[in-house]
């Protein structure tokens, strides 16, 4: 595995308009005006990886943070026996290592960038200087993180307390104004996006559709027919199991 060459790494480019859209949409910047975000990250550059390689190691200086533009990054630690243990994968649209630049001088974990991944790397010093000079910005970012934390707690609750068919039913109920009787609901997203939304593998979706038939829900093209909205709501309220 190749090691990054630090600030002198070749191939760094400025961010494109499409890249900036991804950067502006990360959780931390949710409450900020897009122009403010552009100013905060004006020193950002793109780093691309042609092959799997080590991006940084635990103990390296925390002098920048990253946003995944495409592809993914694996964060991992080393066990006492020297084995790698994956902590998490960071997918496109998410940031990493920002906790370290705000609080620590050194990175606490290792990161491996997967082949084909593009990253926005944002140098710490100009970013932090801007924040230090405008405390209102930091408070807005804290508000955004607090709001996201609350939303994610809701998402965890939903995943833990409802079965996949109950989560699917909840999506359908959110798409209709009917409170009883039959309803036709246009499916506004692809089946793979639907699977992601309810938290199952795409290949498991057909099993959920079979389960839904027993609850009077059928699929006709891109329309979903609900025979009885009341029955669907009652199914949602039963105790579930995410396993």
């Amino acid at each position: 595995m190749e090691r990054r060459t630090g600030q002198a790494a070749t191939g760094h480019q400025r961010l494109s308009q499409r890249d900036m859209e991804i950067v502006r949409a990360i959780h931390m910047f949710d409450e900020l005006d897009p122009k403010v975000v552009d100013r905060l990250v004006e020193h950002a550059t793109v780093e691309s990886a042609d092959s799997d390689r080590l991006l940084f190691s635990a103990g390296d200086p925390a002098d920048r943070f990253y946003i995944v533009l495409t592809g993914r990054v694996r964060l991992f630690a080393l066990t006492a026996q020297g084995k790698q243990t994956t902590i998490s994968f960071i997918e496109a649209g998410f940031s990493f290592a920002e906790g370290a630049i705000f609080g620590m001088r050194f990175l606490p974990v290792n990161a491996e960038v997967c082949a084909g991944t593009r990253l926005a790397q944002i140098p710490r010093d100009p970013f932090v200087s801007q924040l230090m000079s405008e405390p209102d910005l930091t408070f807005k970012m804290l508000a955004a993180l607090a709001r996201w934390q609350s939303r994610l707690i809701d998402a965890v609750t939903e995943l833990k307390t409802r079965s996949p068919s109950q989560r699917f039913a909840a999506v359908l109920l959110s798409l209709t104004d009917r409170v009883s009787g039959p309803a036709d609901v246009p499916l506004p997203i692809s089946k793979s996006a639907l699977a992601n939304r309810i938290g199952i593998a795409p290949e498991s979706l057909s099993r959920v559709f079979v389960r839904m038939q027993g609850l009077g829900v059928t699929v006709e093209g891109s329309t979903i027919r609900i025979s009885d909205v009341t029955m669907l709501r009652e199914h949602c309220l039963q105790a579930g199991d995410a396993a």
């Binding site: 006492a80 990493f96 705000f102 970012m141 804290l142 508000a143 607090a146 707690i153 309220l237 396993a243």
Partner: protein, 237 residues
Amino acid sequence: MSSLVYAEPESDVLARLKHIAPFVALRTEDMLSLLAVARPAVATPGTVLPSNGPGGKVLYVLLEGSVCLMRSLPKGQRCLVEICDAPCLIGEIALFDEQSSLAVAEVLHRAIVVELPAEIVRRCFRNSPAAQLRMLGYMSARLKRLIAQITTLKLMTGPQRLAQFLITLAERGGNGHGLHLPFDKRTLAALLGMTPESLSRAFRRLLQLGVHTAPGGDVTVDDLERLRQFLEAETLN
């Protein structure tokens, strides 16, 4: 129901407060004003930390012990979202976004907490950009833990989630073979998003991978590497 038992304000637990991230970066005068209103307390298991104190909303700093963070559900039930171990903050969402609904915090293991009025904490942080940055780092890390949990719930089966929990427990304890569950199986099932019956099935599945359970919460893992391979192989697909 158990309740908080407040200690004397001059208790030495206050001295520990200033070493907790993100308070380390507060200005000295702000830290002193916080210490002047801080209320240290001891809480036994089962105690629910009240989200409102005498002067309004409160922030808790958990110095010792652990708490279950739960979301209230219709019909009076609660969902266990995560278990937070000391040192950590409880109720920090309300500091920066008063509209967000609050989670309920119930003490799992005997806890020492410091109760702080949210309004005064907010004022102290307004005075210190450096402390705000520390708080950003703290809240980013908290967000990442929740995202990781959502990924786990979406992508892993029950046995995989249990395997991941046991691997983490083993790595924290530095002992790959003999483990002791830090809480009862009902709490573990809730933490992993399973019913107790599903957890039993998951343990039966892991028995084939050399995970043995004994009464009292003792667990033996014959081969931790085998458990890691089971997790990694399934997760990467």
